[in-house]
Symmetry: C2
């Protein structure tokens, strides 16, 4: 830690805020801000050119899901430590990001001190999960496995279309399957989400932050 400073990069679509945070981190003796990216595409480019040690990555970006980009960013720069910046993380997001290779989470609602501490921890190879988030993750771990049923690819696809407000028939048309199939998928994903209807499933999905956009 007394050697070269930690090279920190931030990817967040709220550029004014991200730039501010980076400026503040840059003033720490052991850190240097190497850049802000407002899109995933920018982040990809900058990970290559700016050689960051730690990347704070927002999970929601204009051009896609930040979590989904994690594997590629890691492939591009092995050894990079990625911590996901998040406002109100859906339960499954935590698991997904960890599986994708993130080393932790930093909640945007925590204090500056916690963020700088998280950056140092990430740089030194530790996992970073704020207590608040850890509390939500733990039940799933000692639940004996996948306590939280997770949706299949197709079910997620259907859920996305539900979120667009489409009827079962419309969804069937989009996916080129019968309404019966759609009905089954919805019944299944509803059960997994603990919902009793399409509407309730959507409400739950929204609350859990499962959906892109917005």
């Amino acid at each position: 830690m007394s050697g070269s400073p930690i090279r920190v990069m931030i990817a967040d679509d709220h550029e004014a805020l991200a730039a501010s945070l980076l400026a503040v981190l840059d003033q720490e003796d052991d850190m240097v801000g190497v850049g802000v990216a407002g899109t995933i595409a920018q982040a990809r480019a900058m990970v290559g050119s700016s050689a960051p040690d730690v990347l704070l990555l927002d999970h929601r970006m204009p051009d896609g899901d930040g979590v989904a980009a994690i594997p590629e960013l890691l492939r591009q720069r092995p050894g990079l430590r990625i911590a996901v910046l998040t406002a109100s993380p859906g339960d499954h997001l935590l698991v997904e990001a960890i599986e994708a290779g993130a080393c932790g989470f930093v909640s945007k609602t925590r204090s500056l001190g916690e963020v700088t501490a998280a950056v140092r921890a990430a740089a030194s190879g530790e996992a970073v999960i704020s207590p608040e988030l850890l509390a939500r993750l733990l039940p799933r771990l000692h639940g004996g496995g996948p306590a939280q049923k997770q949706l299949t690819e197709r079910e997620r696809e259907v859920l996305d279309l539900v979120a667009e407000g489409l009827s079962n028939a419309a969804i069937a048309e989009r996916l080129v399957v019968s309404v019966h199939t759609v009905r089954n998928h919805i019944a299944n994903l509803s059960a997994k989400l603990g919902a009793h209807s399409k509407l309730e499933a959507l409400a739950i999905a929204v609350r859990q932050g499962l959906l892109p956009g917005r």
Copy 2:
């Protein structure tokens, strides 16, 4: 501008980011950061005690809708200039905030320079709307008036309950009215939103950022 510095306060539930932004603004020669609030309750208290000239207010706060709190904040401190910080503003949010007394909008996705410029403009009594947002507001203005139908109090209440995934019957029970009434409210608000079903109304509401939470 050469007199006393502009006293700037930020209310945003992302405290780490808000604190960073404030720290950066504080370094401007003509500004001084006087505080960060993470909730509306805190903001109320601090507006009284810290005497800010300009308040950057997030529209989404843990304890309620920031826009809804604007009138009270202004009553508490007349002359306060409030600019709404926003990530992806729903169309109607723009109108509501202006009507509530905000002097403008600052999109979180813009650069730091634009934010500091916005603060100065707000302090000097000018309106602050970034071009990107203005472009969305204009059509409603020269639309001849309320081109965007706005929901009544009761309709919004119903919409919130819809967002919880409740059935019409459950909503009726909550509001202590008949199912028929709920059905009518939903028909009306759906028409206003351009939706053809409860589900679609919810989808639209989510996309427009009409709903609290999340």
